[in-house]
């Protein structure tokens, strides 16, 4: 299963409802929707806590027929990796399904994660079996299945790889943490020698793909990755070179075997011919510029 488009030519949705609008990706998407002139309402946990028992009804009250829902809300691993977090996350998925039960939704876009894949396969495509290895991956896979079976809406599932950019609220291992470490401590701490390869997508590129999916009313499954994987060591060195100060890239004894992850992005090219992601160098430069601008504001 890959992505297919309801609208061959892009068109403006009636309205977009952003669930998780206060998060890193949500804020970027809200800005992009506003810039594109798309009527948007953003709902964060302060407006509707999707994990609460009555969340489905409360969300339904805010929906209109023909809304496009973008479901970004999730308790990420930094908020907890335990089964309690898993259950709360699943409750959010169920609430979204309940909210769609009695109203005609134009499209439901779910921001899933590449955490649904194991590291057994290094070249990942949409045909790669989803075999998560931790509860966060299990959560996203379970939500995908819950939405596919219970949500009353055409569904697009986007499995996003690691996103970076200014304003990231997480501190996961990778470009964002490295930039913070470089600016604050002048020292980037690698696991081992940073041999692992990963794909990194700038938040603007992820937002751009989500907007395209909305504009085409797409349904199905798509991995959102650049197709260019790079070692953490190389990421760290690129960050250090742009930090504007002396930065030590520190290694440590390796505790676990290095794992690698590469994406076959052919289906992304098929879905959106001409789509082009920032190079990591360009993305890091843009992020540093945004961070410095924010700091001086």
């Amino acid at each position: 299963m890959t992505l297919s488009h309801v609208h061959s030519r892009p068109r403006m949705p009636d309205r977009v409802v952003l669930l998780g609008s206060s998060g890193f990706l949500g804020r970027g998407l809200a800005r992009a929707c506003a810039a594109a002139g798309i009527e948007t309402i953003g709902l964060g946990s302060h407006e509707v806590d999707l994990a609460e028992a009555s969340a489905g009804l409360r969300l339904a009250e805010r929906l209109r027929p023909r809304d496009t829902i973008v479901f970004l809300s999730a308790l990420t691993p930094d908020k907890g990796r335990d089964s309690g977090t898993l259950v709360r996350n699943l409750a959010m998925g169920r609430a979204v399904c309940e909210a769609t039960r009695n109203i005609e939704i134009a499209q439901l876009v779910y921001a899933s994660s590449d955490a649904v894949y194991s590291f057994a396969t290094t070249l990942i495509s949409e045909a790669t079996p989803a075999v998560p290895i931790d509860l966060y991956g299990v959560m996203h896979r379970a939500r995908e299945l819950i939405l596919a079976s219970e949500a009353k809406a055409p569904l697009a599932v986007l499995r996003l790889t690691a996103i970076y950019g200014a304003g990231d609220t997480h501190n996961s291992y990778g470009p964002n943490r490295f930039m913070r470490q470089a600016l604050k401590d002048g020292r980037i701490a690698l696991f081992g020698n940073g041999e692992e390869t990963r794909d990194h997508v700038h938040v603007d590129d992820a937002v751009d793909v989500i907007l395209k999916v909305i504009a085409h009313g797409s349904t199905g499954l798509l991995n959102v990755a650049s197709g260019r994987s790079i070692t953490f060591r190389s990421v760290a060195e690129r960050v250090a070179a742009r930090a504007g100060r002396a930065v030590e890239v520190a290694t440590s004894p390796r505790q676990n075997p290095a794992t690698h992850r590469h994406f076959d992005t052919t289906n992304l090219m098929r879905a959106f011919p001409g789509v082009r992601f920032k190079t990591l160098d360009d993305g890091l430069a843009a992020t540093f510029a945004d961070m410095r601008a924010a700091a001086s504001a």
Binding site: L123, S125, T265, T266, M269, P273, G274
Partner: protein
């Protein structure tokens, strides 16, 4: 024993080539098809398939080989091959209903002591289950048709594999005389073994192709060159000089796909492990999309409304077949581009792409194109001079999976020449 008269029922690719090769060995051959229009066409020497050497072969057979739509002519034969091409669907599943109907019709018309040889490829278990003739009068012979090389393979087989009800029993003398005329080893075996032998051959070919593709892709990334490595492998006795190691765009044409689908189906039904087949298919799809990825990265993501020249639409050279053709798949996957397309044997269909111009020759395909992609290794494309291509192209990118252009000359002409299994050039 008089020289047997040999009949062939089903005058599509397999039947026509096979019948011609038997006639070339001095036998009188009756070429039957119930399709009168097809027989008329054959009588007028208008061959329905493109196959190097076929025209010369049939002409040299002269009166030994005659075409007919009369059942009565077939009933004069001592040995009757049933040899229609068996169609496959998009999943590679065979539809043997037409073959079965033809076998039953032929069995009812053959003379009482004639033997039947099923030459069309059938799934394991098919021949024994037919029940149309006594086992002594029914054989299955493995065909090894290779599109584009069919005449050479049919006239000079390496061996003949024959499926029998009882391999310990001697072959019918008349059938044996036909096989002996080819002067190659004859391997009688149980029906089921012969049916699976054909599939086994194709699985070995796919395994070799997949090895080549897997390692060629690695070459592209690490600076190796598969064209340097493959000859070394072919000198290894355990691999051999004819091993299918040339990297390509995945398996196509329908026959290999059919055999992989058959193995998957049988493995599912009998509970045997066949994860390898899935791996081959995954690799095949991945490599089929190689030109799309290269074009996207180098042109489509960088040039507004690009024009792409496409050379070749058939699934391989020297054939008219477009079954599962990577070229046709690519053309369909370039909706955002304008296309200029040329193939020496097949005219591209307007249904494949809304903004496609069919050109009249290879160089004209390059005119004002932002990139050229050479999807089929037709021999005449090898004659293209990189300087001429560079002079006609607007862009510099030539995606040339089979290295039809001389690599050094392409580089000298300033082309960004992208070849399977060779280090990928950096985009200018």
């Amino acid at each position: 024993m008089n020289k047997p008269v040999v009949g062939f029922a089903g005058m599509t690719h397999l039947g026509l080539v096979s019948a011609s090769s038997v006639a070339a060995r001095g036998f009188d051959v009756v070429c039957f098809d119930a399709d009168s229009a097809l027989i008329r066409r054959l009588t007028q020497q208008d061959w329905p398939v493109l196959e190097p050497g076929l025209d010369e072969l049939i002409r040299s057979n002269a009166r030994r080989q005659r075409f007919t739509d009369s059942w009565a002519d077939l009933s004069m034969c001592d040995v009757v091959y049933v040899a229609p091409d068996v169609p496959t669907d998009d999943q590679g599943a065979s539809d043997v209903s037409g073959l079965t109907a033809l076998i039953r019709d032929v069995a009812g018309k053959m003379k009482p002591d004639a033997v039947m040889v099923v030459l069309s490829q059938v799934p394991p278990g098919y021949t024994r289950a037919l029940g149309v003739l006594s086992p002594q009068r029914l054989y299955y012979q493995v065909e090894t048709l290779v599109f584009g090389l069919a005449v050479e393979r049919a006239t000079k087989p390496e061996r003949t594999i024959v499926g029998c009800a009882d391999p310990a029993a001697p072959l019918d003398q008349r059938f044996r005389a036909v096989l002996d005329a080819f002067g190659c080893p004859i391997l009688p075996m149980r029906y089921e073994s012969a049916e699976l032998a054909k599939i086994s051959i194709n699985c070995c070919l796919v395994a070799s192709v997949t090895v080549g593709n897997t390692l060629a892709e690695l070459c592209e990334r690490i600076g190796g060159d598969w064209s340097e490595i493959a000859p070394a492998l072919k000198l290894d006795r355990r691999i051999g000089p004819y091993a299918y190691l040339t990297p390509g765009l995945g398996i196509a044409g329908g026959n290999l796909e059919r055999d992989l689908a058959t193995v998957q189906r049988l493995s599912d039904a009998h509970g045997t492990e066949a994860g390898l087949i899935l791996a081959w298919l995954r690799n095949s799809r991945h490599r089929r999309d190689w030109p799309l990825r290269e074009l996207h990265e180098r042109v489509i993501a960088r040039v507004a409304d690009p024009v792409i020249g496409v050379l070749g639409v058939t699934y391989k050279e020297n054939t008219h077949s477009i079954k599962n053709s990577p070229a046709v798949a690519l053309i369909r996957e370039l909706p955002s581009c304008r296309l200029r397309v040329f193939d020496p044997a097949v005219r591209a269909s307007a249904e494949w792409h809304p903004r496609m111009m069919v050109t009249e020759d290879a160089l004209a395909t390059c005119d004002d194109a932002d990139a050229l992609v050479i999807m089929t290794p037709w021999p005449q494309f090898r004659a293209l001079k990189p300087g001429d291509v560079a002079g006609r192209l607007r862009g510099r990118v030539v995606v040339d999976p089979f290295s039809m252009l001389d690599r050094a000359a392409a580089a000298a002409a300033g082309l960004e020449h992208v070849v399977l299994g060779a280090p990928l050039p950096v985009h200018a």
